[in-house]
């Protein structure tokens, strides 16, 4: 097939591409589909179930048949519609869903077996023997199902996300959309015009309709020039608005580089979140077909598509074509094709008494009743008044009328309504607020009406916003009547396809009706109608019409279907755009991160934070060696650990103490200035929530800490208490977590080390006792805060300095502490130290624990009303007798495993006899064996008992002895030296 004359392709730019390995040539401006047709390739794919040969059916994003795997390697893109893939030099495409070559697909045997594969057959068989489903039937079905394949490699391209804001979003750049954008932009509104195509014009590009007696492209070109001069109008080509979300938020994908060989340094696609005060939906309409026997052969396509290929791309799938129509629009296709020199073998019009609108044979009151051609159409059967005749043709355009593209108006579950004049569903009144349909999308597709409607709707939208718009002078449009008639399918005994991709035929609908699958959602689900990648854009209304006929009800009484986003499928990579690797989520780095990195620390992810896990030294071959060394250093010398990650909140105000009394289960107001107290927070439902320290810096000034994990949540809770529960208290809050680098200095030598850095303060036990705090200066005048608190059970402090000095302070402490054994320790050692001391952490504060379970029951003051205090005394919580215990192996070499369940020695092991579980476990260099913490039924009364720790998951069982959870210094003497 040679090219026809005219068209919007650039004949000076020749592009090469391959399809199934064969090299072809096309032109810039081609889609893959138009280029394939220009190369006489009609067979491009196979259908989903029966593997029927399929060709190109449409000229747009509604395409059900012509799906290909585009590109290769990691960029392989399955299920790409050839009708919207812009041709670029070197494009590679392959047909899909076939076994063997496309023209000899072995799975075409399914077509012969089709009587067995009627709607719903899966549900009625494959049940015996039971084990065969997963082993035999299902794998076979899965292998045959699906369409294209993923490469299984990571997508190598980059994706962006962005936000736009505008007064008016115009969706669709056809006649109505252009008029709308022009009207609004001239009025000075902020306007975004988005269109899925690579060039503006919409359906005008596919038509020969004239505007002001000149080709429409001239008017479009003049508009584009004006648009370029308007800074308040943003034109977004290759941009599909795929979904409408709440309050005027629209999702859109801009295909920035899909028409290029690769995106280079730029992005492939951008996800835009467009916040629009108003939107005009000018998305046009989609043509429907008319099911008849064997209507799915390559060469049979929508008549409007046939016309588009001829007018825009200067191609036609055959030299001799026919048109099957129920309306006037089909005749326009015939006229346009004849003007391009294509032979029209006939126009078959289901209406009686119509007249030809050009020089072609007309069969009025006739239908196409069958077709021939194994891999492509060769003949059609025409039936009129019971008489049939076959005529030769290589292509058939089917014109069943146009369905407005109402999809976006239904995204908020609004229902389209049936317009008996237009014989189509048009937007209902319950669409998304602020979205107005215009032009063909509103059922006003006649060109003059569409232009006027676009301008009027835009002016109306702006008027809602208080902006005045003048209607522009619109060009005089050539008439384009549709003359739709209600003719939905050609009855017959053979299979007539309704949903091309999923192989749903009229017979399947009849069967669904017979089996009482009549509600439209049952029909869809039973037959898979409309569930394919095209979401039934060309099928659904025809199917409703067939079902209506069967039930004797009207189409609107039979139902409509809810359109869900996205309008057309959207790549997961652009929805999940941005960084997918190490920058998938932000990293928080502690002030000593770079110092630790330089020392060779191993890091671990703790929520958003990266924390030093341990600091391996030369000669250490296992992490346990490093951790044991770090733990011992704290117990005998002094260890240093960056604890900046703990949340810090500055609490000020005259009522700060009273406020904290209501937040914490224990009393805070009695705390003296210069002192610190451990604080326990409960949730309002009575369970333990978070713990930390409360330091009183002044009468009206506290600094409280939270756990690392709950820092944000506790801050939120504090603001809730301040603003919503006790708004009359004078309290001000602000987070200072990042502002201060906080370093734990822990171990018997900690005082000696700190004395070397503080400028003047008295750190003696009397001058700065356990649980003291102060603001002071260190290292010759640097402001700092010092807290004498301990997580390890040793004499210990935490020193805080402005974050930028954390790095230098850590270096200084290491230098000055060398002779004292100063050792940095990481989160592993921190964990061991706290388990040895019996301090609860995340594994114990897991949201299930009561204060009593943690051994902190007495902290919950009954004398005041604090969050959660009352509810913590409810029957079920009070009855929970599990208590935190320490556990050691019966024999020193035994193992203690967190997550093992505890059982009474000799008892049967079931969920009912379960006595508790091990929350945390570690090797304790201090004890010289593994140790654990756990919650145990009546744990406080079972010290000394031997339990079984069962870990059937890993086939293990250990004998453990119940001990005090305080493995180190249970009296706390070391803290107070």
């Amino acid at each position: 097939m040679t090219r026809l004359s005219g068209g919007l392709i650039d004949r000076d730019r020749k592009l090469s591409f391959t399809f199934d390995g064969q090299v072809y040539y096309g032109h810039a401006g081609d889609t893959l589909a138009s280029a394939l047709l220009a190369n006489d390739v009609r067979l491009v794919g196979r259908s989903f179930k029966y593997h029927r040969p399929r060709g190109i059916f449409s000229a747009g994003s509604e395409e059900p048949n012509a799906l290909v795997e585009l590109r290769s390697g990691a960029r392989q893109e399955p299920n790409t519609r050839a009708t919207v893939a812009e041709l670029f030099d070197g494009l590679e495409a392959r047909s899909q869903n076939r076994m063997g070559p496309l023209n000899r697909d072995l799975l075409a045997v399914n077509d012969l077996m089709s009587p067995f594969f009627a709607a719903g057959f899966y549900y009625k068989t494959f049940m015996w023997p039971r084990a065969f489903w997963e082993k035999l039937y299902e794998p076979a079905i899965r292998k045959a199902a699906g369409l294209g394949s993923l490469s299984m490699q990571a997508d190598p391209d980059h994706y962006d996300k962005g936000f736009l804001h505008c007064d008016l979003l115009v969706i669709g750049g056809g006649a109505a959309g252009l008029a709308a954008a022009l009207t609004a932009a001239r009025a000075g509104a902020q306007v975004v015009l988005a269109d899925e195509d690579s060039r503006l014009g919409g359906r005008l590009l596919a038509e020969t309709l004239q505007l002001d007696d000149a080709p429409a492209t001239e008017w479009i070109a003049a508009l584009e020039a004006e648009f370029a001069s308007l800074p308040n109008l943003r034109v977004m080509r290759r941009t599909t608005v795929f979904g409408v979300y709440d309050h005027g938020v629209y999702g859109a994908v801009e295909r920035v580089a899909d028409h290029l060989t690769t995106p280079g340094a730029g992005v492939r696609q951008t996800l835009w979140r467009i916040t629009a005060k108003r939107a005009v939906l000018a998305a046009g309409a989609t043509e429907r077909h008319i099911p008849f026997a064997n209507n799915d052969r390559p060469g049979i396509m929508l008549a409007g598509a046939l016309r588009a290929y001829a007018n825009r791309w200067a191609v036609c799938p055959a030299r001799r074509v026919a048109i099957f129509t129920n309306n006037d629009d089909g005749h326009r296709t015939a006229r346009d094709l004849i003007a391009k020199g294509v032979e029209v073998a006939g126009v078959i019009d289901s209406r009686k008494g119509v007249h030809p609108q050009g020089s072609y044979p007309l069969f009025d009151g006739a239908v196409v009743s069958d077709s021939r051609g194994r891999l492509g159409l060769t003949r059609i059967e025409i039936t009129r008044d019971g008489d049939s005749q076959w005529i030769d043709c290589g292509a058939l355009g089917v014109a069943g009328g146009w369905n407005p593209n109402v999809h976006l108006t239904a995204h908020h579950r609004g229902r389209p309504i049936w317009d008996p004049e237009a014989l189509a569903f048009v937007p209902g009144a319950d669409g998304p607020a602020g979205l107005i349909a215009a032009g063909a999308a509103a059922g006003r597709g006649e060109l003059a009406a569409a232009l006027a409607d676009g301008a009027t709707r835009a002016a109306q939208a702006l008027a809602d916003l208080g902006l005045a718009a003048r209607l522009p002078d619109l060009p005089r449009a050539e008439a384009s009547p549709a003359g739709q008639a209600a003719f939905w399918h050609v009855p017959g005994k053979k299979r007539a396809w309704v949903d091309m991709q999923n192989d749903v035929t009229v017979k399947d609908i009849v069967l669904a009706h017979k089996e009482n699958m009549r509600p439209v959602e049952h029909l869809k689900r039973w037959t898979t109608l409309g569930m394919a990648t095209d979401q039934g854009k060309t099928a659904n209304v025809s199917a409703l019409a067939v079902m209506a006929e069967l039930t004797g009800q009207s189409i609107p009484a039979t139902g409509t279907t809810i359109f869900r986003p996205p309008y057309t499928p959207v790549a997961l990579s652009v929805l999940g755009g941005g960084d997918t690797g190490r920058h998938f989520r932000p990293h928080r780095l502690t002030p000593t991160h770079h110092w630790a990195e330089a020392r060779g620390a191993v890091f671990t992810e703790v929520g958003q934070w990266m924390r030093a896990q341990y600091f391996p030294q030369a000669g250490e071959t296992h992490w346990r060696q490093s951790v044991d060394r770090e733990v011992l250093a704290v117990r005998v010398g002094v260890g240093l650990c960056d604890v900046t990650t703990l949340g810090k909140v500055d609490v000020q105000g005259a009522d700060a103490a009273a406020f904290l009394d209501r937040l914490y289960a224990n009393t805070i107001s009695t705390l003296k200035v210069g002192r610190v107290r451990y604080g326990l927070m409960l949730r309002e439902d009575g369970f333990a929530y978070d713990d930390g320290t409360v330091a009183r810096m002044a009468e009206d000034h506290f600094v409280v800490t939270t756990t690392t994990a709950n820092a944000g949540l506790v801050y939120r809770q504090m603001e809730f208490a301040r603003q919503c529960l006790w708004p009359d208290l004078d309290v001000q809050l602000i987070s200072t977590t990042d502002a201060w680098a906080q370093i734990a200095v822990a171990g018997p030598q900690s005082r000696a080390l700190l004395e070397r850095v503080v400028d003047t303060a008295d750190l003696s036990n009397a001058g700065f006792p356990f649980m003291a705090c102060a603001e002071l200066s260190i290292c010759n005048g640097l402001r700092a805060r010092l807290f004498r608190i301990s997580f390890s059970g040793e004499l210990a402090y935490e020193v805080a300095v402005p974050a930028r000095y954390g790095h230098a302070l850590m270096q200084r402490l290491m230098e000055l502490g060398e002779d004292l054994g100063a050792t940095p320790y990481g989160t592993e050692a921190l964990g061991v130290l706290r388990i040895e001391k019996g301090h609860a952490a995340g594994n114990e504060l897991n949201g299930h624990s009561t204060a009593a379970m943690l051994g902190l029951g007495r902290m919950v003051s009954a004398k005041k009303d604090a969050i959660g205090a009352l509810m913590s005394r409810r029957e079920g919580l009070a009855a929970d007798r599990r208590r935190l215990v320490g556990l050691v192996p019966e024999t020193r070499s035994g193992k203690v495993t967190a997550g093992a369940h505890l059982f009474t020695d000799g008892a049967e092991q079931t969920m009912e006899t379960d006595q508790g579980w091990i929350t945390s476990a570690a090797y304790s260099p201090h004890v010289g064996s593994m140790i654990g913490l756990g919650f145990l039924e009546n744990g406080d009364a079972r010290e000394g008992e031997i339990l079984i720790a069962a870990n059937p998951l890993e086939g293990e069982s250990q004998r453990l002895r119940v001990v005090s959870p305080h493995f180190v210094d249970p009296e706390g003497g070391r803290l107070r030296v």
């Binding site: 709440d246 607020a433 439902d685 708004p727």
Partner: protein
Amino acid sequence: MLIPHPLLGPRDAQEFTYLGDAMMIDRPDGLAEGAEAAFCDYVFQRDNPAGLHRELWFHEQGDRSWLVVTRNTVTHEILGAELARDVALARRATDTPADQGDAQ
């Protein structure tokens, strides 16, 4: 979704964290007679209406205000938003339950 912040105008709902029914402003007195029953109701029971719902949103990635937003749970339409602190203070002054005030 856009939340109409009373001080800052419409803001992306992503800046906010949702808590739930605005009745949570009306915390019972934990020391009062019969407080446990009142607390069980306060902590657990919800009207959960299909329709207008007064609810608490925290402008976490913004000005750290708690807002009482009046929103339709069927259509998601928002009828108004107030600073929760103002609602809570007014509540103390007039004894109007927080989930029954008027939207702005």
